[in-house]
C-alpha cells in the first residue's frame, strides 16, 4: 500500500467543493455526541450520500486546525483489505492518535488480544483527564468487513470504550453488532435510507447550487420521484442535464428518464458515459481496475499520457472521483461509479482486464509497493507472477511482522506455484506450523530440499528463483524448521542434530537463524539433561535475538532461560531474570508485550516455592488479568499449573486437580521440553490428598522404565513413582535408594542442582520409610549443604511428611519459626474478610494515585480495578474511597 494512500485512509474525505446544506441530517447526526449514545449507524445502500453527510458533519464538529473544538474526529476508511482485526486496530490506533487521543500506534499486524484492553485503558485515562471532550471514531464503509474477529473487536470497543468516545459506522448492510440491545437502551442513533433521500426541495437546491442546473419545480419533482431521492441518481442526472443546450432539451430528458423502466443507475450512467469524449470514456473504463488513482499509475495502465490532468478535470466536472489527499495527487472513483465502469469494461473488453491488472502490478512493483503489486497480479489471474512478487517481498513483510498478510498470501497461492520455489515452500512450511500441522510442514521442507538438489544440477531451474536474502540463507532456515518439528515431536536427538546443522549453515550475520539454532540446541541439550551446556548455548541465542533487535522473542526466551536456571538450582538467578524482563517489558507503559503475563507466572512459581503464598497469588492475579487477552498460546497452561500448586499448598486438592485438568487442556506439546508432565503433577496432588488409588492408577499407566538408563525427560515421573511406592509401602521400596542414586549421579553430571536436591529429598524419605533415620538425616543434611541456594526452597520440604523437616533442626527452625504473615483473615473483624489482593488494593487506595494510575501499577485493567474496589466497598460496607480508607484504618488493616 503506498504510504500516501495509507495516510488517506485516516483522513475524512476532503469536503466537496460545493455542497448542499442538509440541516435535517446534521441534526440527526448530532445525536452521536449526546451523553449516553454509544453508536451511530448510517446504514443505506450505495450512493445515498452517507460519507458526504458524515464528513460534512465531522468538518463542522471539529473543523481542521481548531484546537479548541469540543470534539475530535478519528476517521478510518475501510476496504476489503482490512478484513483482519489486527489491520483494523492498527488503523484505529493511528486514527485515534491523529485525533489527539494518547494511544500507542501499533507496528505491523498487532496482536488484537494485547492491543484491545490497552487501547481501552488508554482511552479511559485520556477521557478521565479531559472529561468534557468528546471523540468520534468513524469507520467508513464498514460493510467491507466480513471477518467475524473484526466484528468482535468492534463490539468489544463498543462495550468497553469510555462514554466520551462515540462510534459512528457508515455501511450498506446492518453490521452484526448488538443493535437491538443498544436501541432498547437508547444508546443507538440511526440515519437510514429514508433519512438520506433528497426531498424535492433539497434536490432543487442540489441541482442548482452544485450541478448548475436550473429546472422548474415539476421537472425536479419528476426527477426526485424517479430517483427516489437517491443522491447518486440526482448527481448523474445533473451531469447529463448540465450538458444539454436548453430548457426544452432538459425537459425532454427528464420526461424520457421518468418514463423509462430502466434501472436508474444504468440509464444515467450510460447517459453520462455517452457524453464523455471517447478518450475520456476509454480512460474511465480502463482505470476502473484500480483501487486508487494517481496520474502516473493511470498513464502506466492506459498506455497514454495526461492521466493527472484527466483526473483533475474529472473532479472539477463532478464525475464521481473522490480526492484522497489534500494535495489531490491520489483519487478514487466513487464506489458505485467504479462498479458501473468495471461492469462495462468486463462486458465490452473482457480480454483486456488481465493485461490492465498486470500493468498496474508492474507499476506498483516498480514503485516498491509489493502488497498492491501482488493483489493486481492475483486479479490478473497470474499466480506465478504473484508468487515471484511474494518471494521478493517476503523478507520485508516478515520484518514488518505482517504475519496475517503472509498467511493470507501463502493461502492464496496454488500448490504448483509454491512447489516450484524453495523459498515459498519454506514459507508455506512456516504457515503450516502456525496452523499446527507438523506433517504438512515437514512435507514442504522435503519439497524445498528436493528443489534445492534439483537446482544444483540444473542452473536453468536455479535461475528462475529470485536472488533474495531468503534464498541465500535457505539451508539454515530448513534445518531450523526441522529442529522445531523434531522438538514438537519430543525427538531430542533430532532437535540437536538439526539445530547444529542450522548453526553450521548460518553466516555470522544471520541473526535469525543463529538465534533460532542456538535456541533449539540449548533447549535440546537441556532436555537431554545437560543444563550447563544448555544455559551456555541458550545464552548465545538470546544474544543473537538481541542483536537482531527482536524484543518479543527475547522476552519469550527469558522464560525458557529462567526455567533452565531453576533447573540448575538457581532460583535467585531466575528471579533476577524475570524482574529485569518485567521491568523492560512494562517500562514503556501499555500495551505490554504478550510475554508479560508469563513473566508474572514465572515469579509466582518462585514465590510459591519460597512459601510466600500471598506474593504468589498477587502475581497469578496480575497474570490472569493480562492473560485474559495477552498470554502466548503455548504458555497458557503454565498459569493453571502454578495455580494448582498454590491450591494444593493451602490444602485445596480438589481445586488443584481441576486446575491441572485445565492446564492439560491448554498444553501444546513441543514448544519446550516436557520436563514436569502434568499427569505426574496430578498424581502428586492425589498423593497429597490421600487418594492413593488414583495415584497408583497413574503409576500403572506411566510409561517409565525404572530399569533403563535414567533420562531427564522421565525424572519427574520417576520421582512421583518413588513417592507412590513409599506411600503404599510397597515391597519394592527397598530398591528405590539405589535407583535414586543412579538418578542423582545423572543429574549431578548434567549440572542439574535442582534435580539433585529433590532426588536427595526423596531418598531421605525412602530412608525414613525403611527405618534408617540416621541415613535420612545424613542425606538431607548433604542435600542442603550442597544446594547452591537452599533457602529459596520451602514447599519442597513442607509438601512432604513432617518427619522429614524434623530431621534437621535448622531446617525446622527456618520453615516453622517466625515468618511474617500479613493480616490474618480471622483478625480482620469482618464477616467476609478481605483477600490478600483486596488488602493490597485497599492500601494503595489510601495513597494519592488516580484509578487509572493504580490499574497501570497493578498491571490490571480499569474494569478489574473497579471490580476489586466494589468488592472491598461491599465488605467494608462503605460507598466511597475515602470512607473505605477510614474504615480500613479503624479496623487496623492499614
Amino acid at each position: 500500500m503506498p504510504t500516501t494512500v495509507l495516510a488517506t485512509k485516516l483522513i475524512a474525505p476532503s469536503p466537496r467543493r460545493r455542497l448542499v446544506a442538509r440541516p435535517r441530517l446534521l441534526r440527526l447526526l448530532d445525536a452521536t455526541i449526546e451523553p449516553g449514545h454509544r453508536l451511530t449507524l448510517v446504514s443505506a445502500p450505495a450512493g445515498f450520500g452517507k460519507t458526504t453527510a458524515v464528513s460534512e458533519w465531522c468538518a463542522r464538529l471539529a473543523p481542521a486546525g481548531d484546537e479548541a473544538a469540543p470534539a475530535s474526529v478519528a476517521w478510518v476508511s475501510m476496504d476489503e483489505g482490512d478484513n483482519q482485526a489486527g489491520r483494523l486496530l492498527a488503523y484505529v490506533l493511528a486514527a485515534l492518535a491523529r485525533a489527539g487521543l494518547p494511544v500507542d500506534p501499533a507496528e505491523g499486524d498487532p496482536d488484537v488480544a494485547a492491543v484491545l484492553p490497552a487501547l481501552v485503558n488508554d482511552a479511559a485515562q485520556a477521557c478521565a483527564t479531559d472529561p468534557e471532550h468528546a471523540w468520534v471514531l468513524v469507520l467508513d464503509d464498514y460493510h467491507a468487513v466480513t471477518d467475524p474477529g473484526t466484528h468482535e473487536a468492534v463490539a468489544f470497543l463498543l462495550e468497553h470504550l469510555p462514554p466520551q468516545v462515540h462510534l459512528l459506522l457508515t455501511t450498506r448492510a446492518d453490521p452484526p453488532l448488538p443493535l437491538a440491545r443498544l436501541r432498547s437502551r437508547g444508546q443507538l442513533a440511526e440515519v437510514r435510507a429514508a433519512d438520506l433521500r433528497f426531498s424535492p426541495d433539497e434536490a432543487q437546491q442540489f441541482l442548482s447550487d452544485v450541478m448548475d442546473v436550473d429546472l422548474d419545480a415539476a421537472a425536479v419533482t419528476a426527477l426526485d420521484r424517479r430517483t427516489e431521492g437517491w443522491a447518486a441518481g440526482l448527481q448523474l442526472a445533473g451531469l447529463s442535464l448540465r450538458d444539454l443546450a436548453d430548457a426544452s432539451a432538459q425537459e425532454a430528458f427528464v420526461a424520457d428518464f421518468a418514463g423509462s423502466n430502466r434501472f436508474v443507475l444504468d440509464y444515467l450512467a450510460d447517459e453520462v458515459l455517452a457524453r464523455q469524449p471517447p478518450e475520456v470514456r476509454a480512460f474511465l473504463l480502463r482505470t476502473s481496475v484500480l483501487q486508487a488513482l494517481t496520474g502516473d499509475l493511470c498513464d502506466a495502465v492506459t498506455g497514454q499520457a495526461g492521466g493527472a490532468a484527466t483526473l483533475e478535470q474529472l473532479e472539477r466536472g463532478n464525475v464521481f472521483v473522490v480526492p484522497l489527499d489534500p494535495a489531490r495527487s491520489w483519487y478514487r472513483y466513487h464506489h458505485l461509479f467504479a462498479d458501473v465502469l468495471r461492469g462495462r469494461l468486463l462486458a465490452e473488453h473482457p480480454d483486456e482486464v488481465p493485461r490492465l491488472h498486470l500493468r498496474a502490478s508492474d507499476w506498483y512493483d516498480a514503485h516498491g509497493h509489493v502488497e498492491e503489486a501482488v493483489r493486481h497480479a492475483q486479479d490478473a489471474g497470474d499466480h506465478e507472477r504473484a508468487g515471484r512478487l511474494m518471494e521478493a517481498g517476503l523478507g520485508d513483510v516478515r520484518r514488518a511482522r505482517r504475519d496475517d498478510l503472509l498467511l493470507a498470501w501463502l493461502g492464496s497461492l496454488p500448490d504448483a506455484v509454491v512447489r516450484h520455489s524453495p523459498v515459498l515452500s519454506v514459507a508455506a512450511a512456516w504457515a503450516q506450523m502456525m496452523h499446527g500441522d507438523l506433517d504438512a510442514a515437514e512435507a514442504l521442507l522435503d519439497v524445498a530440499d528436493a528443489l534445492l538438489r534439483a537446482g544444483r544440477a540444473d542452473p536453468a531451474l536455479r535461475a528462475t528463483w529470485p536472488d533474495t536474502e531468503d534464498l541465500r540463507t535457505i539451508g539454515g532456515a530448513i534445518e531450523l524448521y526441522r529442529a522445531s518439528v523434531a522438538q514438537a515431536r519430543g525427538d531430542v536427538d533430532g532437535t540437536l542434530r538439526h539445530a547444529r546443522a542450522a548453526l553450521d549453515a548460518a553466516g555470522p550475520e544471520d541473526h535469525f537463524i543463529r538465534g533460532g539454532g542456538a535456541g533449539y540446541l540449548g533447549l535440546g541439550l537441556w532436555a537431554a539433561g545437560d543444563v550447563r551446556q544448555g544455559l551456555e548455548t541458550f545464552g548465545l541465542a538470546v544474544e543473537s535475538l538481541h542483536a537482531a533487535g527482536n524484543l518479543v522473542d527475547e522476552l519469550d526466551a527469558t522464560i525458557e532461560l529462567a526455567d533452565m536456571w531453576l533447573s540448575a538450582g538457581r532460583p535467585g538467578r531466575a528471579r533476577a531474570l524475570y524482574d529485569d524482563a518485567l521491568r523492560s517489558a512494562t517500562s514503556g507503559g501499555p500495551p505490554y508485550p504478550r510475554a508479560t503475563a508469563d513473566l508474572h507466572v514465572g515469579l509466582a512459581g518462585l514465590d510459591l516455592e519460597a512459601d510466600d503464598l500471598a506474593a504468589a497469588e498477587a502475581h497469578l492475579e496480575a497474570a490472569r488479568v493480562l492473560a485474559e487477552r495477552a498470554a502466548i498460546t503455548e504458555n497458557k497452561w503454565r498459569w493453571y499449573a502454578v495455580s494448582a500448586r498454590l491450591r494444593s499448598a493451602v490444602g485445596d486438592h480438589v481445586a488443584a486437580l481441576d486446575l491441572l485438568d485445565e492446564a492439560r487442556a491448554r498444553y501444546r506439546p513441543g514448544f519446550y521440553p516436557d520436563l514436569r508432565p502434568l499427569l505426574s503433577q496430578k498424581a502428586r496432588v492425589q498423593l497429597a490428598a490421600g487418594d492413593l488409588a488414583a495415584a497408583e492408577a497413574w503409576a500403572v499407566t506411566a510409561a517409565v522404565d525404572t530399569a533403563a538408563e535414567p533420562t531427564y525427560l522421565h525424572e519427574h515421573a520417576e520421582l512421583t513413582l518413588a513417592r507412590v511406592a513409599l506411600a503404599r509401602r510397597a515391597d519394592d521400596r527397598a530398591q528405590w535408594p539405589s535407583r535414586l542414586a543412579l538418578l542423582e549421579a545423572a543429574a549431578a553430571e548434567g549440572g542439574r542442582a535442582d534435580s539433585v536436591l529433590e532426588i536427595r529429598v526423596v531418598r531421605a524419605l525412602a530412608e525414613l520409610a525403611l527405618g534408617t533415620p540416621d541415613d535420612a538425616r545424613g542425606t538431607l543434611t548433604l542435600a542442603l549443604a550442597e544446594a547452591p541456594e537452599p533457602d529459596a526452597y520451602a514447599r519442597l520440604f513442607l509438601d512432604e511428611d513432617p518427619a522429614l523437616v524434623a530431621l534437621v533442626p535448622a531446617l525446622a527452625a527456618r520453615l516453622h519459626g517466625e515468618r511474617p504473615t500479613s493480616a490474618p483473615a480471622l483478625l480482620q473483624g469482618l464477616p467476609d474478610p478481605l483477600s490478600e489482593r483486596e488488602l493490597d488494593v485497599l492500601r494503595r487506595l489510601a495513597g494519592e494515585q488516580t484509578g487509572p494510575e493504580l490499574a497501570r501499577e497493578l498491571y490490571i485493567s480499569l474494569n478489574t480495578l473497579r471490580t476489586h474496589t466494589k468488592r472491598i466497598f461491599t465488605k467494608l460496607d462503605v460507598s466511597t474511597r475515602a470512607a473505605a480508607v477510614r474504615r480500613g484504618r479503624e479496623l487496623g488493616l492499614l
Partner: protein, 75 residues
C-alpha cells in the same frame, strides 16, 4: 458448469451488459418493470457474493428462488 441455479428478481430493467459482472447471469426483462436474473453459482458462498454485488449497485432486491430444490418429502 456444476453448481446451484437461482433466480433473482430485482426492481427496474437491469442492463444486459451486467451479465459478466453478475456471474454470467441470464438477464430477462419483465413487463412489470422488473428484471429476472438466472444464474448458476458454485455454492451458498457464491450466491452471497452475487447478492453482495447487487447490493453494491444499489439494486432493490425483490425475490430469490432456488431452482434445483429436491422435491419435498411430505409425509
Amino acid at each position: 458448469m456444476p453448481g446451484e441455479r437461482y433466480e433473482v428478481r430485482v426492481a427496474g430493467h437491469l442492463d444486459p451488459c451486467w451479465s459478466a459482472w453478475l456471474g454470467d447471469a441470464a438477464v430477462g426483462h419483465d413487463a412489470d418493470g422488473t428484471t429476472t436474473l438466472r444464474v448458476t453459482v458454485a455454492d451458498q458462498a457464491g450466491l452471497h457474493g452475487l447478492l453482495g454485488r447487487l447490493r453494491d449497485l444499489g439494486v432493490p432486491l425483490l425475490a430469490l428462488q432456488a431452482l434445483d430444490l429436491p422435491p419435498r418429502d411430505d409425509p
